[in-house]
């Protein structure tokens, strides 16, 4: 594709930042603007930028996992999180929350909706990347 030194250098620094930013979006999503959907899109955007600056093959290498596998992983996480409530005798998809104390971050409440959101993140990123990667490979 394009061979621009400026873009290549910039991408080298930008794409990890974008990826990191997508994680921040994901994690803070329940209380401030963000969430799995936006996070997933952002993460996909980072890798698309990488593939534009270099090539699809190297972007795939950076991703390590095949984007199609990401779709499956995401769906699995979401479905498992939805089924968890059945084991504690509640209705399907009822949310369950735990209070955890983390070093540095302090008290956090973690719940099944959060895991569900992680699943959404993976699915969105996986689908976007699957489509864009296979289009640019053509």
């Amino acid at each position: 594709m394009m061979h621009s030194i400026i873009l290549a250098i910039a991408t080298r620094y930008l794409s990890p930042l974008i990826f990191l930013f997508s994680l921040i979006f994901l994690f803070r999503g329940h209380n401030s603007p963000g969430g799995g959907f936006i996070g997933g899109l952002l993460a996909a955007g980072g890798f698309v930028l990488y593939s534009t600056a270099f090539c699809v093959t190297s972007a795939k290498k950076k991703l390590i996992i095949d984007p199609r596998t990401l779709i499956g992983i995401g769906l699995l996480i979401s479905f498992i999180s939805a089924f968890l409530s059945l084991f504690s005798g509640k209705q399907f998809m009822t949310d369950i929350w735990w209070e955890v104390t983390l070093p540095l971050l302090g008290k956090w409440s973690v719940g099944t909706p959060f895991f569900f959101d992680i699943g959404v993140y993976f699915v969105v990123a996986g689908v976007t990347l699957t489509i864009i990667f296979s289009l640019s490979e053509e």
């Binding site: 936006i38 719940g111 296979s134």
Partner: protein, 766 residues
């Protein structure tokens, strides 16, 4: 509890069956047969309780808001059927293990047959109108799989489809009947509905309910004119024919008739419909049976005939007739089951089912011979078998119907005589006389194959010699369930010198003559009945072909295959429907409110308008895509102005990726050129302008109209409280409306995989 588990465990083991086969190999039949035998034992264990007049009823909530619950109910009638289903089922599975040994799909066979058994058990134990329909349909579907088991044969596939369509139409009719029955507002529980039989019979819906339910029962039980699917279903392997077409599935229709008999029965229309349809079916069935050379087809048509007899007896509806029906039903299940299995063995060992080639097999397979001959004796109604007891009761109940006695008696006599002949042809003929040249020499029949038919045949004999041990225990409660009042049944082999015995004597004499001169009679009969044989079957073929033709024409009109036409249709229909609704709600309201606008809002609006115009007018695709991107990014600016950072971020990201996608797709497209005529361009412009105009009007209207209390207040209040989150949008997405999101991500995944598959699919141009 037990009843639900009994049904569910069949489905559960069904799923495991192919894996059990991997472990058990040739012993799988024996292993899997343990399940039906355990269930059989458990049902036997209930005989004492049920015969004392008790019933077992359990209900589990399933969809209580619709009145659909898993209600199970065990009374005498259900028990009789449950015993048949599990008992015959076990024997058939053992038999199949040998019969299908080495078949490539045998693991699958166990799955199907257990699925069928579970559905059948569920059907006879169900108490809820809708679960009855569900299990009814499950039997149709599993029988489709079983009939088409040898799916590499076209005949098998056609026969399976035919059976599915005919019984499927019946199932729909049954569903409609059950819904109407539910609309009479007497509840959905059959056991309770039965108490309000008078109410239902005088209800304006009664006739409709009756017709719809009868169509369901008649299709399933192969009554004329729906009888043609049953002989076709003989394409199935022998164990399937045995299980489905003698003991269980075809009896499901009879079960249903018996079940609703206290509810819908007793009226004139019930009496006439059932008696006449039953009578025609029993005569046509047995006449057609006499025309066949194929062992299995003879048995199939004589089964049609027996189903006619049962329907007729249920139509007559006297206590005696119901008794006769129940006894005949059990007797038939035993002897016909045995005969089908024997026919399967003969086919398996000699390589032919043509009765003209068979004979003298007695010496080659003695155990099979005992089973076949005993069963045939029972079928021909000779003492001391259970078939004889049934036939005597049949005659007695027909004679007792006063004013139509002559007609029914003659019909019964005629049917029984021919039945006698078919019994001898199918069960005794192959074993005596000399062989007519069979294709291959049979070797020793394995134990697993002859034990099943032998048990069934011997049981038929024992029940005939000492009917006392089952009459009080099983039949009293079964007959009581059908008549709706307590009945005490006493069965005996010897009924004294009475008209029934005289009729029996005539039957035997006449039947034997017909058997003796069979070849000659067959030639005459074949010429006579060509009309009956082809009419319903041809009608079925014609309507099926007609349906396919209509579908083809309709598809050619609606499905042009061009995306532009699909889009045109979608957009114009949307515009028309929405504008219709808008004017119905009082036209367009709302003002744009220019005077309150800030200057930067106006600027942004103009900017978007300009970009949209460029997108429409530009002569290259890339410029159009870029202009569209400008519209999208401006949109996200508007979100920021109105304080929706979430939406703004989403819009920006989506827009970015959309532009990239567009660019990647545009890259593959040919150069932009004008191929369409100006007329079609004007048309498209009109449609898009109309669509845009309607959308604008809709947005203006939406701000001024309120159908319901907005739900946003609830979300605002409870987001942090119940959802543990302050970002309402996210809490809605992953918690309040999480189920929607789940559906969406599933769809998204499918889309992603679909796009991938399409892109990677390399179709070579022809």
């Amino acid at each position: 509890m037990g009843l639900l588990i009994a049904v569910l465990i069949c489905f559960f083991v069904a799923i495991l069956a192919p894996f059990i086969y991997r472990l058990g190999r040739q012993y799988t039949g024996w292993i899997i047969a343990i399940l039906p035998f355990i269930l059989f034992g458990l049902f036997i264990n209930h005989i004492k309780l049920i015969s004392s007049g008790e019933v077992i009823a359990v209900t589990y909530k399933w969809i209580p808001s619709l009145g659909i619950n898993l209600s199970f109910y065990l009374d005498g009638l259900s028990l009789l059927f449950a015993l048949l289903i599990t008992g015959v089922g076990g024997l058939v599975i053992i038999y199949a293990g040998r019969y299908l040994a080495g078949h490539i799909f045998i693991g699958r066979f166990y799955l199907y047959i257990l699925l069928f058994m579970g559905a059948m058990l569920g059907l006879v134990l169900s108490d809820n109108l809708f679960t009855i329909v569900i299990f009814w349909e499950l039997t149709s579907i599993s029988s489709y799989l079983l009939i088409g088991f040898n799916n590499e044969r076209e005949e098998a596939r056609t026969a399976a489809l035919r059976a599915l369509l005919v019984t499927g139409i019946g199932g729909l009719s049954l569903l409609a009947g059950m819904i109407l029955l539910g609309l009479t507002e007497n509840g959905y529980k059959l056991s309770i509905l039965i108490n309000s039989g008078d109410l239902i019979r005088n209800h304006p819906y009664y006739l409709a309910i009756l017709i719809l339910i009868l169509i369901g029962a008649f299709t399933k039980s192969a009554q004329v004119p729906f009888h043609f699917w049953l002989p076709g279903a003989m394409e199935a392997p022998a164990p399937v024919s045995t299980y489905l077409h003698s003991a269980t599935m075809v009896k499901a229709g009879i079960y249903l008739l018996a079940r609703v008999s206290p509810l819908l029965g007793g009226t004139e229309i019930w009496f006439y419909t059932l008696t006449i349809v039953g009578m025609i079916t029993m005569i046509i069935g047995v006449v057609l049976a006499l025309q066949q050379h194929d062992l299995k087809r003879i048995l199939a048509y004589s089964t049609v005939s027996v189903l006619g007899i049962l329907t007729m007896l249920l139509g007559v509806g006297t206590e005696l007739a119901i008794q006769a029906a129940m006894v005949f039903l059990l007797g038939h299940a035993m002897y016909k089951g045995a005969l089908f299995l024997v026919a399967g063995i003969i086919d398996h060992e000699t390589g032919t089912r043509d009765i003209r080639k068979l004979g003298g097999l007695w010496k080659l397979m003695p155990m099979v011979g005992i089973a076949g001959i005993t069963a045939a004796v029972s079928k021909s109604g000779l003492p001391p078998t259970f078939g004889f007891v049934g036939k005597e009761l049949f005659y007695e109940s027909v004679i007792a119907v006063t004013w139509v006695t002559p007609l029914l008696t003659v019909a019964a006599l005629f049917t029984n005589m021919l039945m006698f002949a078919t019994a001898w042809i199918s069960g005794i003929h192959p074993f005596i006389w000399k062989t007519g040249g069979i294709p291959k020499k049979p070797h020793k029949t394995p134990f697993g194959m002859w034990i099943g038919p032998l048990i069934l045949a011997i049981m038929g004999m024992i029940c005939g010699i000492v009917p006392g041990f089952i009459d009080q225990s099983i039949f009293s409660s079964a007959v009581s369930a059908v008549t709706g009042s307590h009945v005490s049944v006493h069965l005996a082999l010897w009924h004294g010198f009475n008209p029934a015995l005289a009729l029996s004597a005539i039957t035997v004499a006449g039947g034997f003559c017909i058997y003796y001169w069979w070849y000659k009679i067959q030639r005459v009969v074949c010429r006579l009945n060509i009309v009956y044989k082809f009419m319903p079957d041809n009608l079925y073929k014609l309507s099926l072909n007609g349906l396919l033709q209509v579908a083809k024409v309709q598809t050619a009109i609606i499905q042009s295959g061009y995306q532009r036409y699909y889009l045109l249709t979608i957009f114009s229909v949307t515009a028309i429907l929405v504008s219709f609704m808008l004017f119905k709600l009082g036209g367009i309201h709302g003002s744009i409110g220019l005077h309150t606008m800030k200057f930067y809002e106006v600027a942004l609006g103009l900017f978007m308008l300009g970009a949209a115009a460029i997108a429409v007018l530009s002569s290259t695709r890339l410029a159009a895509v870029a202009a569209l991107g400008v519209v999208g990014y401006s949109m996200s600016l508007i979100y920021i102005l109105y304080g929706a950072p979430d939406l703004a971020v989403t819009q920006t990201l989506v827009e970015t990726l959309t532009v990239i996608l567009f660019v990647l797709v545009v890259y593959h497209l040919p150069r932009f050129s004008k191929l369409s005529s100006s007329a079609s361009r004007i048309r498209d412009a009109c449609v898009s302008l109309a669509c845009g105009g309607v959308m604008t009007a809709l947005v203006l209207k939406a701000g001024n109209i309120q159908f319901h209390q907005p739900i946003s207040e609830y979300f605002t209040k409870n987001s942090a409280l119940l959802g543990h989150g302050k970002n309402i949008v996210n809490v809605i997405l992953v918690d309040f409306r999480g189920f929607d999101t789940m559906g969406e991500i599933t769809v998204l995944s499918v889309v992603g995989i679909g796009v991938y598959a399409l892109l990677k699919l390399k179709i070579k141009p022809e």
